[in-house]
Amino acid sequence: LSMPREIPKEDGRPKWDNKFQYILSCIGFAVGLGNVWRFPYLCQIHGGGAFLIPYFIALLFEGIPLLHLELALGQCLRKGSISAWNTISPYLGGVGIASWMVSVLVSLYYNTVLTWVMWYFINSFQEPLPWSTCPLNENRTGLNEECYESTAVNYFWYRKTLNITPDVTESGTLQWWLILCLAACWAIVYLCTIRGIETTGKAIYVTAIFPYLVLTIFLIQGLTLPGATEGLAYLFTPNLNTLKNPRVWLDAATQIFFSLSLAFGGLIAFSSYNPPKNDCEKDAVTVAIVNSVTSLYASIPVFSVLGFKATTAYWDCLNRNIINIINEFDLPEGSIMRQNYTAWMSLLNSSYPEKIAGLKLKNCDLQEFLDQSVSGTGLAFIIFTQAIILMPGSQAWAILFFIMLFSLGLSSMFGNIEGVFTPLLELRVISNSIPKELLSGAICLICFLIALCFTLGSGSYWIDIFDSYAGSVPLLVIAFFEVIGVAYIYKIQRFSKDVKWMTGRKLNLYWHITWRFISPLLLLIVFMAFITLQIQKPPSYAAWNPKYEGFPMKEEKTYPSWVQAICVLLAVLPCVFVPLVALFHLIQQMCRSKDPSFVPPEVFSPQGANN
């Protein structure tokens, strides 16, 4: 039975300067690197415009309900994730601990990605850009062999930046330049989160708004590039046949889920600093829609630039063929142009087929170049950097691009760090004696020291492992238990009364249906499908091995058993807290019930929450 509550008195809890800061922080947390380098890729391989259908269905039935749930929960209970779930029910305390653990693990490797972005950023001030040319080999007779066989951009990424080892088991050495950049990145994170939301609230104005400016600039620039329209047409041409493949629906569901940064505990932390009477429903819908619109908006410049790059590569291919033909047949310069290439080819093929065959001309196909799609770090550090070299004024574009990536990642880091910071602030009884600056400094220092292992030669393989195992499965599990916990353990009637008190409106039927049935069911299906797909193929990775015969293709290797054990550990460790804590409380309850003199504590009700 819920009592009407009074507005809790001033409790010294930090709060947002204004509503806009809060919304911007949530948007910044949700909008991250994935919006730029994962969504356009998915759109492309899953039939272009047709992908938007499962994407928006997933948004409607999974994204928005879960987001609203987390924001309402944090605002209602006014506590960080661990304390909040302890308040909902002591048996569910494990959910809070699990999301805290995931936030820690993700913060570790996410900042290393930002380290790479920073490294590229500080290298963008050079003229010419260091990834545009190959260095010479030792005796200055030719280009460096590894660089010559792959491309200069690949060489710069795999050798000069990562100094990657051919195998995940070979750790290599610590790369000192990456350590410097890592220290700088953690220093920036410390600078911005030094006093919790007091400082991130100011920093978010820059880091959340700046990427939109740069995306607009790239949009305008991208649309003026030759070949942009081909790229865009390729991206958005709907191919409705792909919808028959269940993989597409799974990808849409997981993309929405991971894109909104749910189940990290960061959103709960953000909304816990809100005044209690705040319209969380509108906030949730706003944040989700802005996130999706940003994904769409970002894919336009990305694909304009990719189309430009494909077109330029196609033209280069044609030009090389033309030079070969002109040299062979001694035709005057300018006789064969790209426009009349096909006419000339048919003419020459009919009159001199042996000569043409002898030239071994490469078959230039624009579709083939457009098909070379990559997602993730490959898109940003290999493909985009290659496209930037071709643009006039490449330094400026490179600098802008990498600052944009850095801001996108930094605003997501704020959410991750808040997810770690806020529960710690509340858990520790002696938190009042430790100044906030010291706590955030300790967190940043410890994370920096642990993240040093990602600067080893094999670091990027480990980051892939962390991303695939720690940043995927546990989140699904946590979200599932979140929805079940609120809908069935805390009881939806109680929660809807709380939400009505906060927003002033009765809960819509849509929320009732999604929270009670659709979202848990959807999460369960997604989880099962995800696990099944993972188990089907043995976990393998693509290694960059210069000594491989198929170089510059990457070598497919499987993880050795100890690495696979670590993968499983990463996926299971956060999840195991959920049953562990429930079991612990059950045993405690049973022991206490045997003791007749002990009065069982009342179930916590958040109405009187004095925090």
């Binding site: 490294w119 410097l180 410390y190 600078l191 400082t199 040299n327 047949f329």
Partner: protein, 184 residues
Amino acid sequence: YVWDANEEYLFKAVVAFAMRRYSSKSTTQISNVLLCNVTDRVSFWFVVTDSSENVSTIPGSEVEAAIRMNRNRINSAFLLSDRTLQFLKITSTLSPPVEPSTPVWLIVFGVVLCLIVAGIVFLIVAGIRQRKKKNKESTKRENLEEKGEVTVAVENGIPCETLDLKAGHVNGVFAADDERFTSL
């Protein structure tokens, strides 16, 4: 530009110049350089004869060496580059990329790091100062509370005792009921 007889003349002159510089004997004349098989592609064969001996051609290796030595002069005479003016069988030596003494990225990194450290120091110092101010204020308020017999009632941010002192004349209508002030 169009390739015509004048350009051919220039080419002969440049090759003769290259031969003179290489062998440092000034006997090679423009007439020693012979072009043949000129095609529309603008490709041709050329030989350099030696006028001192009886009409024999200078060996190809010498010509190659001469051209390699003066490649950049030949290129700039025609406003072309190694890629656009090709001598078959003469590969160009690659120039090493310019490397500044301190890598540029270190300089930029130093600037960025200095800014960050300055920001951190500033924020920490500001935080310490704010905390000292808060401590001083809370001790001041504690002292004020000790002076007053009852808890300090605050009206518009001014403690009521100072109001009383300032006014010097208590308005009976308002100050009649002490209980109207909620105790904190």
